[in-house]
Symmetry: C2
Subunit: 152 residues, 2 copies
């Protein structure tokens, strides 16, 4: 298993992972060809310094992914945060330590880029995910609040 | 009252606001001259596309601030998120709608930059903040989890 920063060739596999999920099933659209919204979004990620998607690859197949965004900030004496979004591991590879290895890789990347904190939000309905993050040392000290502002 | 993107000249006032806070008091260091950590952090924010601090100004005084980071992502059909951090309003100006106006300005900025969602985390001990965000329409659907990775 290896970990690399995703390129656009990995995008279909990433969208497939996001779709193959309890909540993602209704939010995502894994189709061929891939909806243009994803291609455009990937280009925007690549344009932004500090924003990347990391994939776990086994036997040339994408088996896990997460997004890591480095966010410099003023609070906490100028702490830079590493923010994690969109964590997924392929069903066939669950319970084998893939998620933990993927996080350890992402945390090393974040440290190398000056982060002193990693943060994420997890849906309160995802009980397994919550326990997984607690095992990694995360503390659920905050509420994660969302406001949809799209006009659609 | 007006809202503008902060420049380094506003930084001491921003740090003063962050320090004058129940939790900030032990985390921040408002001193003259300002600790270099803040100056360096502000430079990193300015270097990152999509990252900015917005200040509310009344009578040439900074009376409120927040950080808005635009984060393109793949999940939710390529949704771009506007992430808010470090929200503060000067004690003397509480209960006068400053926070709400500051948020409305930030939300307009986020929409103009293609965001379809605004997200933030708020410490579970900040009950007033939680109610404030709920009034604005935010839903506490997620847990906000943090992991400190600094070596200090």
């Amino acid at each position: 298993m290896k970990f690399i920063t995703a390129t656009v060739e990995h995008l279909p596999a990433i969208v497939r992972l996001l779709t193959d999920d309890e909540f993602g099933a209704t939010r995502e659209r894994y189709e061929e060809p891939l909806p243009l919204e994803y291609i455009d979004a990937f280009a925007r990620i690549e344009e932004q310094i500090g924003n990347s998607i990391i994939v776990a690859i086994d036997k040339e197949e994408v088996i896990g992914c997460l997004q890591l965004t480095i966010i410099p900030g003023i609070a906490r004496l100028g702490t830079t945060r590493g923010q994690i979004e969109g964590v997924r591991v392929s069903h066939d590879y669950r319970g084998k330590g893939v998620g933990e290895s993927l996080f350890n890789y992402a945390i090393d990347q974040a440290k190398a880029k000056g982060c002193e904190m990693i943060q994420l939000t997890t849906d309160k309905k995802r009980k397994d995910a919550h326990r997984f993050y607690e095992r990694l040392g995360f503390v659920a000290s905050h509420d994660g609040m969302k406001l949809i502002i799209s006009n659609e």
